[in-house]
Subunit: 225 residues, 2 copies
DNA sequence: CAAATAGTGTCTATAAGACATTATTGG
DNA sequence: CCAATAATGTCTTATAGACACTATTTG
């Protein structure tokens, strides 16, 4: 039995300038050396306990970033997707606030709006599309998008994040009702967003008990108004 | 770089005697020879175009079954899950009506109620639990459960399938309203379920246009009544 | 015609959306 | 005081569930 090439890839997503962007890494080795692609690499059976740890290691090595949210997306495989031979890519996706990527200051890393993507090596375009579908789907019924926000954020900011992801307006009253029902946010006492010529918005943060176990919920968030 | 063991496993589910059951295969090779486990095997880079085809091939070889519905579940990986070494299991799940399994007549295959499962080789128990979670989750908002029915079925039968999967009663009026809205079923003209001392139930089937592209939908099916 | 369950009409309860009003800031 | 938008109250609409009633069969 021939050997299978076993790799991991990470779709690192963030929100910048009101658009959803994906981090691309300039490949320093063949194949596709010099091309922009998803940060990815071989599973190291000596170093990695499992594929998720491999993804976290690869993400850190290629971008300097440690993402609190890293979830398996799907596995892409086959004879045709990699010129080196029959390969498996166990793919993950991660969400971080844009400042985490900017602070990394990697010249071999760039952010591209997901609408601007043209062609990419391997089947990375397909992987990214799968990640977008997953994130958008999960955003309709979960608190996943808070991973795109800084530690403190206002409800209007968070609503804009949801609206950008889902690409449709959300009813303000319903949104705030839903966030209240989820019960995962708490106001930061005394912290308000000042400087604008209007009533200041209250800052919120994720309650400590949910800080590392977010995601799911009961019913959904729906567009409207 | 050491090599990774690359396998596929299939969680084949069916409904028998009102309980959700999983097909187990008696392993004919080490490790765990003679133990009941998920049907699974190596990816064959010569024969398989991709992992899904490998899963379909393995399912057919070990059970004689070809499942119309076969979807990737998740990939399980790591150093500890297989005594042979660092391994990857790209796992799939399939749903078939029980008669498909019975007609296969394999003595090395058995059905076990998902509540009766004790311990299994590898991390197969974990894989099955992930499949159950996925199927139950999808059943709340999709037509997935029709894959557990025969080609023709009555609405009361289909409702019972949903109720068994979700393990809770469903409001009859809401259920039928939802099935009507989904628009994927059509009555089989003239076909009714006779023999019982009550009004006969109309037989339905999946419309031809949806026969090989089922699954998703708009809003959900909720318990009640 | 009695028992059983399929199938449907309709009222009630709950959740989501529309809209309006008040609150609080900077200039 | 005006413009801007945060925050909230409340009415309307849409969806889900409860319940009852009719339909059709077997024995």
């Amino acid at each position: 039995m021939e050997s299978v090439i076993c790799t991991v890839d990470v779709v690192l997503l963030t929100l910048r300038a009101g658009s959803l962007q994906v981090a691309l890494y300039m490949r320093d080795k063949a194949p596709f050396q010099g091309a922009w692609a998803l940060p990815g690499g071989y599973v190291h059976v000596e170093a990695d306990e499992d594929a998720e740890q491999a993804a976290a290691r690869v993400l850190h090595e290629k971008t300097g970033i440690v993402s609190p949210y890293l979830e398996q997306l799907a596995t892409f495989s086959g004879r045709a997707r990699d010129p080196r031979g029959w390969s498996v890519s166990i793919s993950y996706y991660a969400l971080v606030p844009v400042k985490v990527i900017e602070q990394a200051e990697r010249s071999d890393l760039k952010l591209v709006g997901v609408e601007q993507l043209k062609s990419l090596p391997f089947d990375h375009l397909q992987i990214i599309h799968a990640a977008l579908e997953r994130v958008r789907s999960k955003s309709t019924y979960s608190s996943l998008p808070v991973y795109l926000c800084n530690e403190q954020f206002t409800l209007p900011q968070l609503q804009t994040v949801y609206e950008t992801l889902l690409n449709e307006p959300i009813n303000k009253v319903s949104f705030r009702r839903k966030m209240d029902e989820l019960g995962i946010l708490e106001p930061v006492i005394g912290a308000v967003e000042t400087g604008k010529a209007n009533r200041p918005a209250q800052y919120y943060r994720v309650k400590a008990q949910f800080r590392h176990t977010l995601s799911q919920s009961g019913r959904g968030l729906n567009p409207g108004s």
